[in-house]
Amino acid sequence: MDEALLRTLTPAVIAILVRRGADFAAAEDAVQDALVQAVRVWPDDPPRDPQGWLVTVAWRKFLDTARADASRRHREERVEGEPMPGPAEVVDDTLQLYFLCAHPSLTPASAVALTLRAVGGLTTRQIAQAYLVPEATMAQRISRAKRTVSGVRFNEPGDVATVLRVLYLVFNEGYSGDVDLAGEAIRLTRQLAAKTDHEEVAGLLALMLLHHARRPARTGPGGRLVPLAEQDRSLWNTRMIAEGVDVLQSALARDRLGEFQAQAAIAALHADARTAEETDWVQIVEWYDELVCLTDSPVARLNRAVAVGEADGPRAGLAALEELDPALPRYAAVAAYLHERDGDPVTAARLYAEAARAAPSLPERDHLTRQAARLNARLRS
């Protein structure tokens, strides 16, 4: 039973039903039902044409539901005939489905949930588990999202940038439950890259691959965070890094820089260094300059200050930091790091403790507390 194949086919099958005249919400429900049936039936009776099988079964389920709805509405009327089959099924509308599920009228969380179900082919239960909410809550989130986009024309031109933001959100959620959301985000971005010719899609795919390749090295025993400089680089997935670099290079060759390409370039420079000391910080600073130009993002400026600290020394990093708002998330953590490098463990310890209190996640809090504890122990001895 190839569940991965089923999930890959999901968006194309939904799109075919929509093209045949089903509305998106009903088509999506019918395809989910068909997927459930496929999981049950295929192991004993594998179809020769899996996509054709799914289209047939989903279309039948759609008709059943449509008839039941119609007879509820007009008990005495009979539905005449079947809806006309649509045009020949050669058009791949998967891309339209990405646009619809990331439609700007949706909140980020709704767009994420809808994308994972309709494009990713995950069940509501799997999505609920991944986001640690009850299944009923996730079901409602998805059905509200479907209602929100019910008035959107399926073939309405979409913006790739909104899709990329949604996929990046999924990627950053990491992994919990039995669904690896980071892996799923890579799969969906790879699929998108195959359907569209867009340098930022490639940029995002490269970024995800380069980050994901380092995942095994990023956590130590008990989920403890291992900072980049201390990671065991032999744990990095070199094949994935090579693929990421390849994808990035062909994107950059098109000379239309975007934020994901710039971020991927920074990740590639980290991945390229065999030891932390070999990192080309000067080039990384240059890429952060590009990133700041492109996005004007305070987070990019904060990360740039770290890079400046490595390239030109901690004083230069602290000077870059001084131009930023201390209320920025992780400002204190960056300041602590730079002060320690500048030979001021007292200030660094105080700032690490302050950063720990403001940390948004448990592994970060533990990591920052450990840094403060390490410095305080050194100061006592």
Binding site: S110, V133, T137, G174, R214, P363, H367
Partner: protein, 135 residues
């Protein structure tokens, strides 16, 4: 989305505006209160924001380890303990402002005289389980 804990206190929060103790309410007022809480949870499930909710007994015991091979030491309940949690609701919402808005609505649950309790609820953000990659 971010998860928040809405904490309700038996003790330890500032006094409510409508501060009549529950055992002084009429049975109808109690029913209306319970119904309000249930409707609130149902509505949040409908908006895709509900995660969990539970009430706690006011009776609690402090427990601690007492060394190898010895049973744990228990103590309490302490009548004078400053803080006593009555229950919680966990919500998963788009913004901090939305968490405040919902806590405000929950605090409007009816009490004595069918009037809102205006009870103080504590809003606490969850720490995320996964760090954001910052390297």
């Amino acid at each position: 989305m971010a998860k928040y804990l809405l904490l309700k206190h038996y003790r330890g929060a500032p006094a409510s505006v409508n501060d009549v103790p529950m055992d002084q309410w009429t049975p109808e007022e109690l029913s209306a209160h319970v119904q309000y809480m249930q409707d609130f949870a149902d509505r949040l499930e409908g908006t895709g924001e509900f995660v969990d909710s539970h009430a706690l007994s006011p009776e609690g015991t402090f427990v601690r380890y007492d060394g190898e091979g010895r049973p744990p030491v228990t103590d309490g309940p302490f009548a004078e303990t400053k803080d006593l949690i009555a229950g919680w609701m966990v919500i998963d919402v788009e913004t901090y402002e939305r968490a405040l808005e919902l806590a405000g609505e929950l605090s409007a649950a009816p009490g004595a005289g069918g009037k809102p309790i205006h009870e103080w609820l504590e809003v606490r953000p969850f720490l995320a389980a996964h760090p954001t990659i910052t390297e």
